[in-house]
Amino acid sequence: MNPLTQPIGLSHYLVVGAILFVCGIACMAAKRNALGVLMGIELVLNGANLNFIAFGSPLLRGEANQTIGLDGQLIALTVIVLAAAEAAVALAIALVYYRTHATIDVDRGEELKG
């Protein structure tokens, strides 16, 4: 079954969500700039959001008892708010880090050795 010739369905949304997730993880792992890492986190959250909305849509999933219904959209809205709060806190912390280190390179913080 070639997904490119199929009508748009649940699996297409899931593939996009998975791609966003993998991009986000790669971004978090590869970027050394704190802002880049935060962007990676946003990608992961949005990938999850896309999944929730796709799973909640009765159009994409035939059987009514298999969807998570409105809960999916509610979770997506909540996650958007949480992501904003997280970004606000993380950016404030990045600013403080910049003030003390004059850089936002996460690798330059080397006074604490895990």
């Binding site: 899931l14 969500g17 997730f21 986000g24 993880i25 978090m28 704190a34 890492v37 935060l38 990676g40 986190i41 992961v44 959250l45 990938g47 999850a48 959001n49 999944n51 929730f52 796709a54 799973f55 008892n65 298999q66 969807t67 998570i68 809960d71 999916g72 509610l74 979770i75 909540t78 996650v79 949480l82 709060a85 997280e86 806190v89 993380a90 404030a92 912390i93 990045a94 403080v96 880090y97 003030r99 003390t100 280190h101 996460v106 913080g109 006074e111 604490l112 050795k113 895990g114």
Partner: protein
């Protein structure tokens, strides 16, 4: 159902005989306290007490609303879902919220005695603290994916800020940045895992997810769905393991503890751990009704517990900073506390009559509650000792504790008691805690885990003893004045006061375990019915 009926049903559920709102009063009180502190600052800009008394009042009220004494009565609070299934209100959530609020009450007193920050910052500190506690209260009564996410984020975000509280110190901002970045990444992974699980099971209500999984496995599951389930389960494990600081997601703990103040480290090591364990019990409890999931979860949690415990104890050896040493000790204790959760999963729905294994599983959860109740005092006392020494000696290095027994003998005795209790030697309450969880492992027949637990207790002997040895046997450094913390000072008295329950809970063993047994009753009402 038309719209007015829907509104009426929500109204009845919230305010009617179901009384969702009345069971939610502790959280509402916390919210009101936060707002009151902020308003008080606006009205009285140079308010000297920095909201401390407001916090005390709010926390006492919240603790009274949890009603930790009333549910000893027969049949009180049998367990029910409130807010249309979003939260579970049972004795377990009451007990854990009671522990969290009691800890916070002790903790704000501790920060007031030991805290070294500008008075105008005090109110923000307390507001963030109460926000984190609010999130933790949600975590331990979570019954729905949305509450899991909301609670975890509400508990984590204030902790990131608290970790970087000393804005001008380089290590502090570094700790906060690392904590925020890793924490947000873990939360993202947990969220994605949750989306996979919710999609594959077609529900976001945790007990319904458990039931759907049982139906799905009976009807036969197709490979794609199974992959989604396993991947989702593992991703959720990553997120929870990060909050628990389980190996291999423990690496943030030593850095954050070293960079943050000892006060914040105490908060993260006790309150954050307790909430994460409560969440683990809730998540695992939803799926224990499914035999295949149970086998998977037992192996997963046992493995995490064994590796975390062993790693924490081994890594603690090389540490010369006492806060780092306590960080690894915290990791090891997180491992111990995951052991009764593994026992709970193994025991739930085992062989025998349908009732008996369930009560055995509840005993395992009771063991966890006993451990948490004792750990609260032990670890708070240990970090309090570090903070008081920092205020006097301006150092957290172990070698600055050398010969402390000559200058402040009372403080040294209390610190030694705390160290021996963390190790688990009778007649101290740390022994009670370890003994109870090992008994739970015996009843679950998890012999390997039991052997690892006992071996780890022996392993941990040397680094706890080293702290005591440095304090008592080593010669005090000649080049500076000996630090003095008399027991008559506020700091010394507070420290001695914390040591009392560390000793007393060994002798009040029976009362504590009765309390925990009562708290664990009706835990699985959503999974197996009341």
């Amino acid at each position: 159902m038309n719209f007015p009926e829907l509104i009426q049903s929500v109204f009845d559920d919230t305010l009617g005989p179901g009384q969702s709102l009345s069971l939610f009063r502790p959280e509402l009180t916390l919210c009101a306290t936060m707002i009151a502190i902020l308003l008080a600052r606006m009205i009285l800009p140079r308010w000297k007490t920095s909201g401390f008394y407001l916090v005390l009042l709010g926390l006492t009220l919240a603790l009274a609303f949890v009603f930790p004494w009333r549910w000893f009565a027969e049949g009180a609070l049998p367990g029910q879902e409130i807010f249309t299934g979003l939260l579970a209100a049972d004795r377990f959530s009451v007990a854990l919220r009671g522990l969290l609020l009691l800890f916070t009450l002790l903790f704000v007193t501790f920060t007031q005695i030991a805290g070294r920050w500008a008075p105008e910052d005090g109110a923000e500190f307390f507001v963030l603290l109460l926000g984190a506690v609010l999130g933790m209260c949600l975590m331990v009564s979570a019954n729905h994916v949305i509450v899991v996410l909301l609670g975890m984020e509400m508990a984590s975000l204030p902790c990131y800020v608290l970790a970087g509280w000393q804005r001008d110190r380089r290590v502090s901002s570094e700790a906060a940045l690392k904590y925020a970045v890793f924490g947000a990444a873990a939360a993202g992974i947990l969220l994605f895992g949750m989306s996979l699980l919710a999609g594959a099971l077609g529900s976001v209500h945790l007990p319904t997810m458990g039931r759907r999984l049982a139906e799905l496995l009976q009807a036969g599951v197709d490979p794609a769905q199974l992959t989604a389930l396993i991947l989702g389960g593992l991703m959720v494990t990553v997120g929870v393991a990060f909050k628990l600081a389980a190996f291999p997601f423990h690496f943030w703990i030593p850095d954050v503890f070293e960079g943050a103040t000892a006060e914040v480290a105490a908060f993260i090591s006790v309150a954050s751990k307790a909430a994460a364990l409560g969440l683990l019990v809730r998540l695992a409890g939803a799926f224990v009704g499914v035999p295949d999931a149970r086998q998977f979860l037992v192996v997963l949690v046992s493995l995490l517990a064994a590796v975390t415990c062993t790693f924490g104890n081994l890594a603690a050896y090389g540490q010369n900073n006492l806060k780092r040493l306590l960080a690894y000790s915290t990791i090891a204790h997180a491992g111990y506390m995951m052991m009764p959760v593994a026992a709970m999963i193994a025991l739930a729905g085992g062989q025998g009559s349908p009732d008996a294994p369930l009560s055995e599983a509840q005993k395992a959860v009771a063991a966890l509650l006993v451990y948490l109740g004792i750990y609260l005092f032990m670890n708070l006392a240990a970090f309090a000792g570090v903070a008081f020494m920092r205020n006097v000696a301006h150092s957290e290095d172990l070698r600055d504790y050398a010969g402390l027994v000559h200058s402040s003998p009372g403080f040294t005795v209390c610190m030694a008691i705390v160290m021996f209790s963390l190790l688990g030697i009778p007649p101290l309450s740390g022994f009670t805690a370890k003994w109870t969880i090992f008994l739970a492992l015996v009843s679950a027949k998890l012999w390997t885990l039991l052997a690892i637990g006992v071996l780890n207790t022996v392993l941990s002997l040397f680094y706890y003893l080293r702290v005591v040895k440095v304090m008592t046997l080593d010669a005090p450094p000649a080049d500076r004045a000996a630090p003095r913390i008399p027991l008559t000072s506020a700091a010394g008295a507070y420290f001695a006061m914390l040591t009392v329950p560390v000793v007393a809970l060994f002798f009040l063993w029976g009362g504590l375990s009765r309390w925990a047994d009562a708290a664990a009753q009706a835990l699985f009402f959503t999974t197996f019915g009341p």
